[in-house]
Symmetry: C2
Subunit: 421 residues, 2 copies
């Protein structure tokens, strides 16, 4: 079970979490719980670090920010004990959770689970701070913001858990953002691949890394709401969204999800920016000259469109980068103008990427053309297209985001049926 910062914000909320955890134990499960810091606490600690040294040492940053989860793990253990359960905290360095030494963005390498399993088998609920680990030379690491989801999946894999329940602010994964489409439906199940695509295009339910790890390790992840009633039954019977493999999905669809569609969900991401370089020489190496400096600067280029070469041996190259990296991208390419030999750079931060995602499209043609036609019918101009096996993304004007999502949600038959119907 994993609880985020909102669920751990203060005594009353931690007590609620303790009751939810205890009920899970009472239902016959051995339980390990991964917790985030109280909401706001990590920001407070990060600010202290920035004030101390704008170019702070990431190793010391990890010492400071890991304290937030240390506090909540100890407190949840106490709350569980107060309710009569046996419980203890296991800090990242105590298990330990081995990571590489990339401080502030470490990757988990392995988790020693012997002591943990012995404690759980003896009836103790294990409380583990998320987000933290230990390097080979005995120093604290953290996994990067949102890393607690990854910790939870890694622990679940290490102890071969039946399930990894991630309690969040939302009660599951929806066909699209319910704030945009009132008729969005909660999905009973999605595949890892779908969840990865949804996460990568702006659905903020789970950290992308955690989904990738779950897929690699075959951990069944359930997303469900931490705002359930205190008296609600154990999580086994609460309908969240299960994230599973393709094979398992078939099983779920049988019993639970008869209405499953070709398309699983629609995501919108407004954090992209579009850059076009005009009249780039159409010769080998020209494209590398553009993207190598961006890669070296750790700027993640997403969609790339190269127009068909014109008569003059020149071509226009358009691509997208995260909006936060636009200024750095512009500065880098300005400096490379001679080397690349382009004519003009045109940037646009007011774009949105709309993606339709679904494993169903592997075996069905026509998904993309439905998308293009539906958008064209409403006069929405497509500026760029990219596709993967289970995703089609288009770049459009940011102002048309909500309209596009609603149009596509209806076009793919995702709208919830009217209750009265």
């Amino acid at each position: 079970m994993k609880f985020g910062g909102t669920s751990m914000a203060g005594t009353e909320r931690i007590r609620r979490v303790a009751r939810i955890v205890q009920r899970q134990q009472a239902a016959g499960h051995e339980v390990a719980v991964v917790v985030s810091a109280m909401s706001g606490e990590t920001d407070r600690l990060v600010n202290f670090c920035r004030e101390a040294d704008p170019l702070y040492d990431p190793a010391e940053y990890d010492v400071v920010v890991a304290a937030g989860e240390q506090v909540t793990s100890g407190l949840l253990a106490m709350h569980l004990q107060a309710l009569g359960s046996k419980a203890r905290s296991w800090l990242g360095w105590q298990l330990p959770i081995h990571t590489d030494d990339a401080h502030a963005k470490a990757r988990i390498e392995s988790i020693d689970s012997d002591a943990l399993l012995a404690s759980m088998a003896a009836g103790e609920i294990a409380v583990i701070p998320g987000f933290q680990g230990l390097t080979g030379d005995n120093r604290i690491t953290t996994l990067g913001r949102g890393g607690s989801d990854t910790s939870a999946v890694a622990v679940a894999a290490a102890i071969k858990a039946d399930r990894c329940d991630i309690y969040t602010d939302v009660d599951g994964v929806y066909t699209t953002d319910p704030r945009i489409v009132a008729k969005a439906r909660k999905l009973k199940s999605v595949t890892y691949e779908e969840m990865l695509e949804l996460a990568s295009v702006g659905s903020k339910v789970l950290q992308t890394r955690s989904v990738g790890l779950a897929m690699k390790e075959g951990v069944r992840v359930q997303v469900l709401s931490s705002f359930i009633d205190d008296d609600a039954p154990a999580a086994d019977t609460i309908p969240g969204t299960m994230i599973v493999s393709d094979e398992e999905l078939a099983k779920f669809q049988e019993g639970l999800d008869m209405e499953r569609q070709l398309i699983t969900g629609i995501a919108a991401d407004k954090n992209e920016a579009k850059v076009t370089l005009t009249r780039v020489p159409d010769r080998p190496g020209a494209v590398a000259a553009i993207f190598s400096p961006l890669a070296a600067a750790n700027i993640n280029v997403d969609m790339i469109i190269q127009n068909i070469a014109k008569d003059k041996g020149e071509t226009d190259v358009t691509f997208t980068v995260p909006g936060a990296d636009l200024a750095r991208t512009q500065a880098l390419l300005e400096g490379q103008k001679e080397a690349i030999g382009y004519y003009r750079m045109i940037s646009d931060g007011k774009v949105a990427k709309i993606s339709v995602v679904g494993v169903g499209m592997k075996s069905h043609a026509g998904v993309a053309s439905t998308m293009f036609r539906s958008l064209a019918d409403r006069g929405i101009n497509i500026q760029a297209i990219s596709t993967s096996e289970i995703k089609v993304s288009v770049l459009i004007d940011e102002d048309e985001t909500e309209l596009a999502v609603r149009v596509l949600h209806t076009a793919y038959g995702l709208d919830a049926k009217d209750e009265a119907a």
Copy 2:
């Protein structure tokens, strides 16, 4: 060097501390720094624990409260790096600082100093969170409130430091509380024994345990103010108070402290309560019947006066306990009334213990009689007396505390000379 919570409260203050530390390094020293949590932080964390479980598990309490010092140690290392020094934090479990497993009040057993010394020899300033350690089975301990002074002395002993500088809210040890006696003088040096007696009778400059440890390990401790000017010279030349052995004291007195008096200081402690049991049977075992249950309940009995047995084979027994333990003491003795066989229990929380302390009294008679006469001359009634080799304490009415301290400060010639004289 050790800095308390007031010195570590926020970015600006930690930066000041970093400058003070760096100046010490610039003066040619290898430096280890022990830090407390930001002032208020430990209280905040303790409150979370109490809210979680009034009977909280001390092992989990230690996990929670140790986070406060973890944060400040990482931050101070960053601040030092920002000023251009090499620095790193060493948490209690990283060194490790080995303690027993008495959670929330652990005792330090040993400190592994090899890695620490190697790091310091390489020019790194070591930043160590105070108050925390590690049990044999790899769990976090804390040393009890105020334990950071003890951590500092223990680290100084482990690395065989030339000196342990403890920066506090005050700029040294005074002949008495300057808020009571305007003419109190700062002492240039005191012995461990004197400091222990002063601490045990209410002088709050240093934690008693830290002084006992310094004496045992022969660590020279300097108390000095953390509120010195940013541009002040390194601590070598700042006049704090040195706490040293008897033998070293002679050396200090020669060069520095020609005006040293028979009596070093006068302390007042209003946190005592007096209990009298009347008509206790005057037979073997009667006194044991009173004090055994108190010892079993961890109640620290200080002064004990047994009046001369009266004709009837009965005696009155008076003793003092910490004011905070008075209610428990009363309840315990109420329950033992039959077993002890006393007639009445009379309690008084409005008493104060006044102590005069000084190694000089070992070789000089008349210290106690000066005390009794001076108090009697002002009409102050003495309710009880206790003495040690270097201390005489009397119990008086709490309302007469300040008067008594001033009278004695003058009587023993401790008043500072008028500047103009």
